[in-house]
């Protein structure tokens, strides 16, 4: 190869070194090595610069999470939610009646995005901005309780102003008022509540009734046709309850015992697999005879296949909430508070519940719901009966060390 061709684009000293090396017949230092050396030197510096900064503690009085609030001058709100999680107009699915009513009542225009498909994925998406202390461009997000708790713990959520939340303060269902990750609801308000129950296909069990989590784990008639959820809190919470432990205050030993209990069922092939929402198809076809399932899914599944039944175990069941919260540095906190407060009115909550069929956290909205959708109001999967509601349990919040340890053990359990 022509030397000039090689040397082209090199800096003068490098070119000189090359020429010397070549003319002296000591071409030992090849171009590749030179490139490697430069890359290595540059790399070492760059590698060190890639660390992730420590999360700021949310308990600092200076409230570092708060951003400048331009709500009063800028009447907009960017609201991120899960898909199919808001009421839509029966004729025109692009219209969202309750959001339109909010805009009409307050003048705040809502940019509604359905970009949350998974708690952990969403966390992965917004983490770099939040860790760097930047605005994510979202003023209000809906996250499941433990993820909401993590954001609050890391100081990545803004404290809400109770003065703007009068409806929410009055109408929040009592059992959701003091979760240990946000006691007194200073940062978050529930959008909906989710119930984790047992479901089975009575055709696949040949008419046999399923009554407990223990039966899912042990009954030989169900061998290889049982699934649990790949969400750690749902699966372990239900198993803890079946072992007589309280998911709201279990110890690390209790957790290990629950893992061991499930591991046994994995090892002897009783449990077929751990699933996300995709259990529905197999439950309906009968490949899965029984499983742990989410109440919201079951309404649709039962409507499509009358063989599907749900059971509230005698030991109780798990309920969790999806919560609205304002991420750190978001610039329209007051507009977000207006929206939270708006959805805590009885008529609006009833309209939302009729549209999405998830349990509403708004106490006293049932009469309104009965007016617009009587059949929904009678469905215990949407409006839990008093006896059911008495059996709900919450999963306690975890410290960061516990979260890593438990998630790691659970990942091994589910094979990954």
């Amino acid at each position: 190869m022509e030397f000039n061709e090689i040397a082209d684009g090199m800096s003068a000293p490098v070119r000189k070194a090359w020429a010397r090396s070549l003319t002296n017949g000591r071409a030992a230092m090849s171009r590749r090595m030179l490139l490697q050396a430069t890359a290595l030197m540059a790399g070492t510096g760059t590698l060190a610069a890639c660390g992730i900064p420590a999360a700021k503690s949310g308990s600092q009085e200076s409230a570092p999470a708060a951003g400048p609030d331009s709500s009063d001058t800028d009447k907009t709100l960017s609201f991120s939610n899960w898909p199919l999680y808001i009421d839509v107009d029966a004729k025109d699915e692009t219209k969202r009646p309750t959001l339109d009513a909010f805009t009409a009542a307050t003048g705040v225009k809502v940019k509604y995005t359905e970009d949350i498909n998974d708690n952990v994925e969403f966390f992965g998406k917004v983490k770099p901005q939040l860790a760097a202390g930047q605005d994510t461009g979202r003023d209000l997000v809906v996250l499941t309780d433990w993820m909401a708790g993590r954001l609050i713990r890391l100081g990545w959520a803004q404290k809400l102003n109770p003065a703007n939340l009068t409806n929410a303060l009055t109408n929040l269902e009592a059992r959701f008022r003091a979760p240990d990750w946000d006691p007194g609801r200073q940062y978050s308000y529930p959008w909906t509540s989710i119930q984790t129950v047992i479901a089975y296909n009575k055709k696949a069990t040949k008419g046999k009734e399923i009554t407990s989590v223990a039966q899912l784990l042990d009954d030989p008639a169900l061998k290889g046709r049982v699934t649990f959820l790949s969400e750690m809190r749902d699966t372990i919470g239900m198993v803890l309850l079946s072992m007589g432990k309280e998911p709201a205050k279990f110890t690390a030993d209790d957790f290990d015992a629950a893992i061991a209990r499930v591991q046994k069922a994995v090892d002897n092939k009783q449990i077929r697999k751990f699933t996300g929402n995709d259990y529905g198809q197999e439950l309906s076809s009968g490949d899965i005879a029984a499983c742990i399932a989410w109440g919201g899914d079951l309404i649709q599944l039962k409507a499509d296949n009358p063989d599907i039944e749900f059971v509230i175990p005698a030991e109780g069941y798990l309920s969790s909430t999806d919560n609205m919260l304002v991420p750190a540095k978001a610039q329209h906190k007051k507009n977000a508070e207006l929206l939270i407060n708006f959805y805590y009115q009885h008529e609006i909550a009833a309209q939302l519940t009729a549209g999405i069929n998830y349990v509403s956290p708004v106490a006293g909205m049932e009469p309104e719901l009965a007016k617009i959708a009587p059949e929904v109001a009678e469905n215990p999967l949407v409006v839990p009966t008093r006896e059911m509601a008495a059996k709900t349990h919450l999963f306690r919040s975890l410290t960061e060390a516990e979260e890593t340890d438990f998630e790691s053990k659970f990942s091994k359990l589910i094979g990954a």
Partner: protein
Amino acid sequence: MTATAEAAPTQVIPLQDRPPRRRLTPYWLLLPGLAWLVVFFVVPMVYQASTSLQTGSLEQGFQLTWHFSTYWDALSEYKWHFVRSFGFSAIATLLCLAIGYPLAYTIAFKASKRWRNVILILVIAPFFTSFLIRTLAWKTILSDSGPVVETLNALHLLSLTDAIGLTTGQRLLATPLAVICGLTYNFLPFMILPLYTSLERIDPRLHEAAGDLYARPFTTFRKVTFPISLPGVVAGTLLTFIPASGDYINAQLLGSPSEQMIGNAIQKQFLNVLDYPTAAALSFILMALILGMVTVYMRKAGTEELV
């Protein structure tokens, strides 16, 4: 050669003597590609390399501590996931080759012009649906009470696969075989298309010539067609094997806890356990192992024609 070069001196003006604008042309042409590589390959790689050597937690932050033992720990913890990933994707690749080669051969030599396009469109058509949806569809196809399982059971084939550990019980879903089927299906087009392009280039007169030299059709295939199509085979196997090794959708939807692949482990470590260093280290180990295997393979297969 030298004579012509001297006769036309304009062709050999050394680069440094050319007008600067022309000297820079190749770099301007390279710029978009280089920029793309830097932003989407070099920067993420450096970031990931750094992450894999860090220690810490979200609350405390992650600092670069040159913690190399993460690699060793990750490898010893997940060695069976690696073995399983490469095993499944190797079998899937061989199946793709066995299914794809006859199909590509038919499209290239046997099908009429009109049918050729129709079949090619059919091969590509699945790409119009999402990967996830296509994999979910396999749950219906392989369902325990579905026609596939019933037929296989009637033929007692599932007892056979059970005996060699590919299935458990009288079912297909949540077994290694289901994951392999899913991988084979999802990556089949990546095998067929390169095979087709390399077969289609073969001059049919070569076949005639082989026939004139008294080669039987099979000998023609063995001595003429197959050797010429080797670049297509190499490209196809690489395009199938590499993405299949890192896939996690098939194992998650069609497998049970004992079929989880390395992609699932990386996903869990990154998203659920929040152990970013281990996730990054696992990705690097995966890349290194694939690179190693591909290098050996390319040396063996010879790829002068490929590049």
